[in-house]
Amino acid sequence: MKNDILLNILILSPLLSALFIFFINIFFVNTRQYIFTILALLGSGVSALLALYVSYYSYFYSKIFSSHFFTWLNVGEFSIELSFRADSLSSFMLLFVAPVSFLIHIYATGYMNKDKSYGRFFAYFNLFIFFMFILVLADNPIVMFIGWEGVGLTSYALVSFYFEDIKNTYAGNKAFILNRIGDFGFLSALMILFIEIGSGGFSFETIFVNLHQIDNQSVNLIAFLLFVGAMGKSAQIPLFVWLPDAMAGPTPVSALIHAATMVTAGVYMITRFAPLYNIAIDISLFISYIGALSALFAAIVASRQYDIKKILAYSTMSQLGFMFMALGVHAYSTALFHMFTHAFFKALLFMVAGAIIVSFSHKQDIRELRGIKYSAPLLFIMMGVGAITISAIPPFSAFFSKDAIMSSLYVSSHYELFAIAFVASLLTAYYMFRMLFVIFFTKSFQDGKQNAKSMIYPMLILTFLSLFSGFLNFPEIFLGDLNVSSWLNLADKKVLIEHSTEIILMFVNTVCIMAVIYFTYKRYAYTDKILQESEVSIVANKFYIDEIYDVVFVKPLQYLSIFINKTISYTMIDRSINIIAFSYAKAGRLFSYIENGNVRYYALYMAIGLMFGFVYLYVLLGTRL
């Protein structure tokens, strides 16, 4: 097979840099920080450049890069090659994953400055990027699964980064465990898929060629199980509870993993299996409903959170819900485009949050962060841009992507989905601007440290991208070309919508959102309303979902474990075996009474023996005696 050296370098450079950093960090104490910085930035920078190169060629020349390392596993009919392929979908993913990762790397060198585990952080960070590339570029589902689990593993390592406080490690554990529950579904789906059609080779191409051979029931089962994997990785209901807790990790981690890359892996995976989902229509509808539910739930909960990062975490979950809604009605390009724009503005928002946290002595509660507008004007502008973008106000990027989603939902004639999406987007504006107004639009004043340049510059770039990346997929009614969609060339369902309907939808959307922003302004800007909101409502406690899970799953499992140990293993089985042993000992003791040392009894026993002998002789010899 062709072996594109550039693709190889793209994949391997973060791995090599991670390994070098690991090695130096473990075996050489007291290395200078800049060595790690150089290695880390090299690793991610090289891949970012190559990713841009690859996407350029993929878009303009429709070139497909592929590369084959070696045969990974060959048993029976199960033959897995370690090969990678950058087709248009993968190149599109690379287009935003690699550069955003690089920008966050630069940001992180400023954020993690002078941290004593600086090297360890960047080793894991680069390892994460490596696995993400494997996930995105994989040519067959098993290699994708390797990347899938790999990002889960590194996410665990990064969330538990500040392990001196054991609660952070519990958050990491939660992330990994819930991810793995999703992986259980994913793996089962892959196994069933293999059994049905895997005998001719198991790469994506051959799978989709043979897809028609599977019966409908199995297709539905596979589609459902794959989505279970996506539920875990992309934090949808019911496997989402790890995402808010994962904010315990350093902010660059949240920016990269929980905004731009790992959580989008679920969306990517479903898109990759698009031919499958086009057949399994019921499951696709199910996906839309879960997405809708998650979007609404997360938006409601976010509107009552007080920690900056938690608000952003729920916001991510909500936006992912939007993406899944679009996927469910087979509007794949739309979902991916929203993922594209979301990566930029969400990463920007997280970075701003990180900058605020670092500048203002690690305060994360928005009630404590009031009045920083005049000491951090740049941050104010950037967060403002982020808020405006996410609320889908034209002509910024998310307007185009979110509007496209709404249109496809409207056209699919599942109006309930459209309604939920509409309410969720209104709530999005509400909680975002609530955060903005409470922190910046207030009469109080706080002073903070300056941010490092390494943090500012990436944020500026992302601001720019958030504002203007929408133009990459300019819709037709504005005489655009739908560049991204045509590039991706996915098996979208054709969306036929009247131009007039679309304009009306856009207009209604925008007006309602403006109204919500105005309402929020009135409520939170220059008031102290936020301080009066209680912390004990159901919503503020995220509907007690963690507590419910604890009671329904965690505690019974622990009781079961104790029950098994005490009752079954110890009492029933072990005791019965010990009883056998003790009864032997008891019987032995009983028999020992015969040997009482008294000669007369021994004589008796001899006499009894004699008697038996005589009887036997008598019987044997008959009555001839």
Binding site: R589, S592, N596, G597, V599
Partner: protein
């Protein structure tokens, strides 16, 4: 005729067994052992008379000789046992018992 001697022998043997088991005094136990030996002697002699074979009489003589040496052995045992416990009760000698 033989029958009567055999019955006598059997009766004496049973008396000897019972005495061996149920008496507590060691000297009486020894006497029962002697009774056992002698009952066997009687039966041997009776058989010899009946079958006109003298080998049984030879056996009988040997048994008498052995009984005599055994008596000497037992006497020494009595003396030693009495020295240890000041009593000749068989129940008292149970050091080899396994349940103390």
């Amino acid at each position: 005729m033989l029958k009567a001697y055999m019955i006598l022998s059997v009766i004496l043997f049973s008396i000897g067994i019972v005495g061996l088991i149920s008496r507590r005094n060691i000297i009486v136990i020894y006497m029962s052992i002697e009774l056992l030996l002698n009952s066997v002697n009687i039966s041997l002699i009776a058989i010899s008379a009946d079958l006109a074979d003298s080998s049984a009489q030879v056996m009988s003589l040997i048994i008498i000789a052995i009984a005599a040496s055994e008596a000497a052995l037992f006497m020494s045992l009595f003396v030693i046992l009495f020295r240890n416990r000041s009593s000749l009760d068989a129940n008292l000698f149970d050091i080899l018992s396994s349940n103390k």
